[in-house]
Symmetry: C2
Subunit: 240 residues, 2 copies
Amino acid sequence: MLDKAVTLLETFRPDGGTYRLTELAERTGLTKTTVFRIAADLVRLGLLERTGDTYRLGGKLFELGSLVPRRQDLREAALPFLQDLFEATRETVHLGVREGHEVVYVERIHGHDVLPLPSRIGGRLPLTCTGVGKALLAFSGAELAEEVLAQPLPSLTPYSITDPARLRTAIEQAQVSGLAYEEQEAALGVSCIAAPVFDGAVAVAALSVAVPRARYRPAQLAPAVRTAALGLSRVLRSGG
Amino acid sequence: MLDKAVTLLETFRPDGGTYRLTELAERTGLTKTTVFRIAADLVRLGLLERTGDTYRLGGKLFELGSLVPRRQDLREAALPFLQDLFEATRETVHLGVREGHEVVYVERIHGHDVLPLPSRIGGRLPLTCTGVGKALLAFSGAELAEEVLAQPLPSLTPYSITDPARLRTAIEQAQVSGLAYEEQEAALGVSCIAAPVFDGAVAVAALSVAVPRARYRPAQLAPAVRTAALGLSRVLRSGG
DNA sequence: AAGTTTGTTCCGTGACACGGAACAGCTCGG
DNA sequence: CCGAGCTGTTCCGTGTCACGGAACAAACTT
């Protein structure tokens, strides 16, 4: 029952999709009757909304999700530094945490020009294809890095690193410099520079700035990213 | 079953609270056994996390909540304008939508100085005590305003408007000027100025800037708030 | 008008959610 | 030292309610 309800909610993965009853039944593998009954319950509870014959995720889910303490506290602490970084660079700024072998984006702010990035708040991407992911990977212990390197490396673009040896040197470079670089590995035409955020000795998050390749000036971005990450790390250490 | 699970999740309302098993049983009114079983299921599904004997909301809830299309689309469209407004004023900026007789905050950005406000992303506050709420109330149809005015007006501070007649004139002023004002009605020492955001003819959201009373200069804030709201309205009308 | 969708209702069966009771591990205080 | 009061956890018999196949009505396409 609970499992089926969550399965149902999780089929809404893609961006802003709205589904019909039979479509949900197919995707979830549940009986049409079961989907009908559970969806009705979920609508009654506010987790799902229904207009006509199409379902979409409901407002209560947003409210509940906003209460998740780990995410919310981090976001609250990070926001001023993300603002600083955005103002200094005027480019798209990310904040992400690690979850397994993926990065979950907690915040993303940008101006009027929106880059065609695969990153979304609450979305997951492979650690190995993103700046934030690489920064996290470089400072989350050797055993995690080995785990990731042992598996086939996913790719989002033709530029995504799929060679473990190349990724290993990239990680080592990040560990030395305290900065992770990414060039068109997550989205074509977009490069990225990221830095880890520490709460004590372990990296709890990473932030990055993503820039259209034409405007990519690492020497100017690096100090800003590093400054923001260090500032946030300091606040986290003192605050909690 | 589903009802009980949602009840369980909803008891986490307060700020970042973590609860223990018996505490959850008391607050929900459910049996300790039932809470134990359902909580275990929720942990297994990632909606709840457990460390030691304390439960807190889980990361999957954050991910699901981030997918809610209504909220996410609005936030994405609004963010650039909120950034503009923040840069112009350097004060705390809000974006909220109406849900029943309450405002739900969709976004809130601020710099390093954090005001002691009751507003939280995903949080609900009475329409009548907040700038965003008043702006929504003024442009959501007369019948809604009458409904709200007919009920006893809640208050967050001693300055919150509890006299229906006073609220009525405030709403009328907002309808004329296109701006809603609020002075210490949501939090002591903080004033606020808000403007509605239209998608066509109906107000779908409102944005506001909250300022410490000492720095409150309405004449300077008003144009910035109005500009941001109009810009966002224009994008919404053309985009969807 | 026949056929194929859709969403919805009905209903008999059986699994499983339920909660009281009993258990185990802990921290008190006498 | 030991019992009283907590905690989280397990067990189990009862009864319910979730389940899905089948039948339905409505809106399409053909």
